[in-house]
């Protein structure tokens, strides 16, 4: 990686971007799946059954993780932009990743 | 090969050389006075980023009342200059500074420090009888130049950056200036710019000394150009040394840069290698004596070989408490730390360093010179400071007179109707002078520059004698002739720094000779000039200044009587009931 990028907050930026893109790519799939409830309920159930597979669980974990990373990262950014300046940017970035991890773990654990 | 047939030719109305305080102010004022004229600003580096005005730390002298007065500022200036200043220029400097600082703050947007009551904060430099130095922290120059630069960049002024002036070209009949010859440094091509009026504001800069403070782009080009046109130069022996330049060895450009005056003011002490605090042997004020005295005190220790490893002395601040020092001088501490020195907790090596050049082109208080169409302002102009410049009067001088020049050029140009045809012979001469090294065998230029800097430091430096100066002059002749045999690889002239090093060295050699000759001619000691063989100042009433002029190959130094047009030695403009110094009175 280019050495001008090797610092926490740049990594926070790229994580936010990456998670954003991942979410946009996932959402249509998710929407499509849900609408099949109407058109093709059996397939839905089959698919949902499939989600019991551990690999899919891990993927779900990843997704929820990205979602919460994105949310907390986004909240951090908006706090930075709209609240009085504070010098806890790095702490906040780390914090949002940690909380996201926690939430997605909960999600994962409750799913298995 | 470039010849005069294929050089780029370019016309303008008002041409300004240099973007220090003088150049930028001139551009703004000229535009205001003559809005319909084309203005071109040409500079050796990037606009506003080169030159010394940007490096001003301490601040800007201006008498803003409340007990201070223009008269008091003027008397300090005259006394500081040991009665040598041109009094009309000094007066105009002090008087106009008041308007100029309001202009800087109100119109240009400079952000000067405030007192708690909201008024401008002012402090005192050595040699002043009042707290009159306006500042922005200890980075005043950056503030002034950045704000001026923004104003100039946002206006329709033609900008020629990295254009180095190499010759003033007179008109065919020799009665006026036709224009200026440049090297476009980015391409390496020549460009001749004709103009009706030209301001030279290239800022002097005594960088021919082993230790020096000014920026790397300043190499006396302006004065060398004026000398070659036969213009008179005054006070050329007057080189101001700052006592505490950082000494980091020969391998670093940090060597010579200023450690600010305030360090000594706050209680910093100077020690030699035996840990002896020597300044009290020289002056009862110790380290707080004026710049020239402290410089000479340090220099004397160096002569006695009581020196630090790199050949200087030490400044020590740690007894004031490292944290305290860090808090009080954050900029200086950080600067030292960046180059590997611990100013707050340890001793740092220092050495006197050539700082400012009082000498310059003879001008009238309207910045006009003997050559019609040529104006000179800022550090290039002589006269306002005499033998010594007060801290804080340098940037006041460049901004005041830059503005004056802009106004005067704007007015004069209304009656200058036509551009002049240049004297093509001189144009040719200047081109071949610049091309000269390209036809010689390439060799190391820095070695010769180092020799020049050693010679000037040793023989024409802080302490001078006739013998030494004569030795110096002989060495300068050798260096000059070696330079003319020394070549530069001309394969690619675009951004060819080595070629410019060569031209820099030539300018420095030419002006070094004038400094040495003027120093030889002044047989007394005044301000920055100290002759060990003539340590007395001579009578103030019969004060003279030196005027150097080149005719053909001959350099002529004459003495001219100072005219006391406003105040005579022994007199003062202060009222009878006014205290001599208001510093104590207030405290």
């Amino acid at each position: 990686m280019n050495r001008h990028r090797t610092h926490t907050l740049w990594i926070a930026f790229i994580l936010h971007r990456f998670s954003g893109v991942a979410l946009v790519l996932f959402l249509p799939l998710h929407f499509y799946l849900l609408s099949m409830v109407l058109t093709d309920p059996e397939t839905v159930d089959q698919l949902l059954h499939w989600t019991k597979h551990p690999l899919v669980k891990v993927a779900e974990f990843g997704l929820v993780f990205l979602l919460s990373v994105h949310i907390f990262g986004g909240l951090r950014l908006m706090a930075l932009e709209f609240l009085p300046w504070a010098s806890w940017q790095k702490t906040m970035a780390a914090f949002s990743v940690a909380v996201s991890f926690l939430i997605s773990c909960t999600f994962y654990l409750s799913a298995v | 090969m470039t010849t005069r047939q294929n050089i780029d030719r370019h016309d303008t109305d008002i041409l300004i050389l240099g973007t220090g305080g003088a150049g930028l102010f001139a551009a703004l004022h000229a535009q205001r006075t003559a809005p319909d004229k084309k203005i071109t600003i040409a500079v050796k580096g990037l606009i506003g980023k080169c030159g010394c005005t940007r490096m001003v730390q301490g601040g800007y002298n201006v008498a803003l009342g409340q007990g201070d007065s223009v008269e008091r500022h003027f008397m300090d200036t005259i006394q500081g200059g040991k009665w040598l200043p041109n009094q009309d220029m000094a007066w105009k400097l002090c008087e106009t500074a008041v308007v100029r600082v309001r202009e800087l703050e109100n119109e240009i947007g400079c952000f000067f420090d405030r007192n708690e009551d909201g008024t401008l904060h002012q402090k005192a430099f050595a040699g002043q009888t009042f707290d009159r130095t306006v500042h922005k922290g200890d980075l005043t120059g950056i503030e002034i130049i950045n704000r001026l630069m923004e104003q100039v960049l946002s206006r329709p002024i033609e900008k020629l950056q990295e254009h180095r002036a190499i010759g003033l070209i007179p008109s065919k009949d020799g009665t006026a200036l036709a224009g200026v010859l440049f090297i476009d440094m980015r391409t390496g091509g020549f460009r001749f710019v004709r103009a009706k009026t030209v301001l030279m504001a290239t800022g002097g800069g005594p960088t021919m000394y082993k230790y020096h403070t000014p920026s790397g782009d300043k190499t006396m080009d302006g004065l060398a150009m004026a000398l070659r046109r036969g213009l008179p130069l005054r006070d050329m022996e007057m080189v101001q040394f700052h006592p505490t330049g950082l000494l980091g060895g020969a391998g670093t450009k940090m060597t010579g840069t200023v450690l600010e005056e305030g360090l000594r003011g706050a209680g910093g002490i100077l020690l030699n290698n035996h840990e002896h605090r020597f300044m009290f042997d020289v002056d009862e004020r110790g380290e707080r004596a004026t710049r020239d005295i402290v410089s000479r005190g340090i220099y004397a220790e160096m002569r006695k070989n009581n020196t630090s490893p790199n050949g200087g002395v030490y400044i020590s601040m740690s007894h004031l408490g490292p944290d305290n020092v860090r808090k009080k001088f954050p900029g200086m501490v950080k600067r030292c730390a960046d180059s590997g020195f611990d100013l707050a907790g340890d001793k740092v090596e220092v050495v006197p360093t050539a700082h400012y050049f009082m000498g310059g082109v003879v001008v009238d208080p309207d910045t006009r010179t003997d050559l019609r169409g040529l104006y000179v302002a800022g550090e290039d102009a002589g006269g306002a400071h005499g033998s010594n410049r007060l801290g804080g009067n340098g940037v006041a001088n460049s901004t005041v007179y830059g503005g004056v020049a802009g106004d005067v050029m704007g007015k004069d140009i209304q009656s200058f109707n036509a551009l002049h045809e240049p004297d093509e012979t001189i144009l040719d001469e200047e081109i071949s002078r610049a091309l000269h090294p390209l036809s010689r065998k390439p060799a190391n230029i820095q070695t010769l520059r180092n020799r020049l800097m050693d010679v000037m430091w040793d023989e024409v430096g802080v302490l001078r004698t006739e013998k030494g100066i004569l030795r110096g002059l002989a060495a300068l002749d050798d260096i000059t002739s070696e330079l003319s045999e020394l070549g530069v690889d001309g394969g690619n002239l675009a951004f060819n720094l080595t070629w410019h090093d060569w031209i820099n060295l030539q300018s420095l050699c030419e002006i070094s000779k004038v400094i040495a000759s003027a120093a030889l001619s002044r047989e007394n000691s005044r301000g920055a000039h100290f002759r060990e063989d003539f340590p007395e100042s001579g009578s103030m009433e019969s004060s003279y200044f030196t005027v150097a002029r080149q005719k053909g190959d001959e350099l002529n130094v004459a003495r001219e009587q100072v005219e006391f047009t406003i105040v005579k030695p022994g007199e003062t403009l202060l009222k009878d009931n006014e205290a001599e110094s208001m510093l104590e009175a207030i405290k």
């Binding site: 001008h4 932009e81 709209f82 | 922290g137």
Partner: protein, 247 residues
């Protein structure tokens, strides 16, 4: 000469310098004698003065005041005159290249015009409300506006931040951290008379809203300024005007 000085003199640093112009270029290797006190600028100057007289670079003040000497050093943007070799050297090697995000003129010298054009485009220029004939405005230095303006003001326009920012590289319209930082300083300057004009200037398509808070500018600014905070300030201020003006 100290003993330590003698010893370090013997060592050479391996220096790789980018050589070329707007048409392209490559790295060239040099061996430069190490010194005790030595900045990156000293290394570059040594090469030009002693080994390769055709090397081009730019500097002026040599003490961190003019912002002319910035380059990429081992991949990071730095002011070279104030960067001690020991601070950045890795395995006795230095890689020195022209500043990122600006067009190269030759070797290590870049063309900074766009940087300054953007400074002006961001309305980083004071608009007076008084003249030289007026008194100087009394301003309490303790007010929060004054403090904010002051915190952003000591910029030397070195473009180090500009080089660190990936938005600058990917969006050629983006005004960049330095210009926006200057605009923010002026937004807080009570003497200035062009607030609306400036807020409009920083709200256009290359304006402050493009900043993704990458913080490279903060990390690398040699003067410890905080353009990210300045830009955040502009975002909030412009957002407020959107409601205030009810467009």
């Amino acid at each position: 000469m100290s003993a330590a000085g003698e010893k370090t003199k013997l060592k050479n640093i391996n220096v790789s310098v980018w050589r070329g112009d707007s048409a392209g270029g490559t790295f060239q290797n040099y061996a430069v004698p190490a010194q005790e006190s030595q900045t990156i600028l000293d290394v570059v100057a040594w090469i030009q003065q002693n080994q390769d007289p055709t090397l081009s670079y730019r500097y002026a003040c040599r003490v961190g005041m003019c912002g002319s000497c910035a380059m990429m050093v081992n991949g990071q943007p730095r002011w070279t005159c104030r960067t001690h070799v020991q601070k950045v050297i890795k395995k006795n090697k230095l890689v020195i290249a022209p500043l990122r995000n600006l067009p190269v003129i030759k070797d290590l010298a870049t063309n900074m015009d766009e940087f300054f054009d953007k400074w002006v485009r961001a309305e980083g220029v004071f608009h007076p409300t008084r003249t030289r004939d007026d008194e100087i405005e009394k301003i309490n230095p303790e007010t929060s506006k004054r403090a904010r303006a002051n915190a952003a003001i000591e910029c030397i326009n070195c473009a180090v931040c500009y080089a660190s920012c990936d938005v600058v590289s990917s969006n050629k319209d983006y005004l960049g951290p330095a210009a926006l930082n200057r605009a923010w300083s002026l937004v807080n300057d009570v003497r200035d008379g062009a607030l609306d004009q400036r807020l409009d200037a920083v709200s256009k398509s290359g304006g402050c809203h493009n900043c993704h808070s990458q913080h490279g500018c903060v990390k690398f600014c040699p003067n410890e300024l905080n353009p990210t905070a300045a830009i955040a300030g502009l975002k909030l201020e412009t957002a407020k005007t959107m409601f205030r003006r009810r467009r």
